[in-house]
């Protein structure tokens, strides 16, 4: 027979899933919890806490490119403990007799070429290609956001920690915590792109992508939103203070217009109205 203190110690290790339900080492403690209301309440609270932590841990996403890197057989680039043979270690790196070595060398050359190509393409990227990629990311239901969080300060801090764009000049309707649902960091041609996801009361689901303007050869005009449709999704894009903003709507283009004219009574948005509204943008920075 176990006492309450012992039962607590055991029950602390009992998970809220079915994983431990049939484990005999928990049977006596579980039985005691059923007959002891105080212990039962304590256990229920433990289970609730464990379920919250479990869900939070299991929501952590793996990087988008990790699986591809594993399948490509890439060795970790930042290995810290490589055990080198005592002698002639360099002979193991490349063997002229081994076809695998030649294939590896060719792959390295291709990779270097790709990296050089990417680097040379920065500043020459077409905005249309970028938009198409970001629209694809916007419609991706799985791993839509890296972090689900409605606190703008925390989201901005998280983006900063991940070396992504986090100094935004946002339209009034997208500023603050209202409707913010989470964020994500995407990699596009080696550049970090920040995505903010919103569920707005009047305009539905929208995603805002922020990138460095230097990436593009044909960035959209400053403070003059360009409305378009890409892949069946309405978009609005503009540049401001060294950054390019791409707003992707999940319902109608009218919703995007509403977001960009949210501070005016004007019914019909014009470039001038929107430009004047963008002048009222709110600056948010990590600090």
């Amino acid at each position: 027979m176990i006492d309450r203190k012992e039962a607590k110690l055991i029950l602390q290790s009992c998970r809220p899933s079915d994983q431990d339900a049939g484990d005999p080492q928990f049977a006596a403690a579980l039985a005691l919890a059923k007959s002891d209301p105080e212990l039962e309440a304590w256990f229920a609270e433990q289970q609730k806490f464990d379920a919250q932590v479990r869900d939070a841990v299991q929501s952590l996403p793996a990087p988008l490119d990790l699986k591809a890197a594993i399948l490509a057989g890439e060795n970790p680039p930042r290995q810290k403990s490589i055990e080198l043979p005592a002698s002639a270690w360099w002979q193991n790196l490349f063997s002229f007799r081994s076809p695998i070595s030649w294939v590896t060398a060719a792959a390295v050359c291709l990779l270097l070429g790709a990296v050089l190509f990417w680097q040379s393409s920065i500043g020459n990227a077409r905005f249309a290609d970028y938009s198409a990629q970001m629209v694809s990311a916007a419609v991706n239901d799985k791993n839509h956001v890296d972090v689900g969080n409605s606190d703008m300060k925390q989201v901005v801090a998280w983006l900063g920690e991940h070396q992504s764009e986090n100094k935004f000049v946002l339209p009034v309707a997208l500023n603050g915590d209202s409707g913010l649902m989470g964020c994500r960091v995407l990699d596009w041609h080696g550049q970090k792109i920040s995505m903010l996801c919103y569920g707005l009361k009047n305009s539905g689901h929208v995603d805002l992508f922020v990138a460095d303007v230097k990436i593009f050869s044909d960035a959209p005009p400053v403070d003059q939103p360009q409305f378009a449709s890409r892949g069946g999704m309405p978009t609005a894009s503009w540049s401001h203070d060294g950054q390019v903003y791409l707003l992707v709507g999940h319902s109608s283009g009218r919703d995007l217009e509403k977001i960009l004219q949210s501070n005016t009574a004007s019914n019909r948005p014009t470039q001038a109205v929107i430009a004047s509204l963008l002048a009222e943008l709110v600056y948010i920075s990590k600090n």
């Binding site: 609270e45 841990v57 990087p63 594993i70 970790p76 930042r78 810290k80 403990s81």
Partner: protein, 165 residues
């Protein structure tokens, strides 16, 4: 190793492995490296595993060993332990966090815990393994796993509540 088999193993396990690595390593790139290194080992040594039902445990054990191996080479990083006194009674009344927990917040609290508690707690919350498997992965007795989880949970709860206060 057969490519399809390898891809199936990667598909099935890379995400929970990454989450485990994330709780052990200091940052995302280190966690990604650990996972890649683990699958590199699987590609070269996985064929020797006779009992295919043990693939998951093999991968987690290997990742944990990789982590410990790397740690041994990093003596310059001083270990900081947050611990409670031995024999301290568990809180009679538990307090739940007021706000819904998010992955990043929990991860940052987990990383503040000593390694002794971090690994068993991460495996506990990943919910992928039985206690027997966790004990095998960490190469310690089941009783030790349970006591570390019990104490680790209390420390984790304190850190989370402190952060939310």
């Amino acid at each position: 190793m057969d490519e399809t088999l390898f891809e199936n193993v990667v598909n099935s396990h890379y995400e929970p492995l990454y989450r485990f690595a994330l709780s052990l390593a200091r940052n995302e790139p280190d966690a990604g490296d650990l996972v890649q290194q683990t699958f590199c080992r699987w590609a070269t040594h996985g064929g020797q595993l006779r009992d295919k039902s043990k693939v998951k445990s093999w991968l987690f054990t290997t990742l944990h060993r990789e982590f410990l191996g790397q740690r041994r080479h990093e003596e310059k990083f001083q270990k900081v332990e947050i611990s409670t006194e031995d024999g301290e009674e568990l809180a009679a009344e538990s307090v739940l966090p007021e706000r819904q927990l998010d992955g990043v917040g929990v991860l940052s609290a987990l990383r503040r815990l000593d390694e002794t508690y971090r690994a068993p707690l991460a495996l506990f919350y990943l919910d992928e393994h039985s206690y027997r498997d966790i004990a095998e992965i960490l190469e310690v007795p089941i009783g030790t796993v349970m006591s570390r989880i019990s104490r680790g949970k209390e420390l984790l709860r304190k850190l989370i509540l402190e952060k939310q206060a």
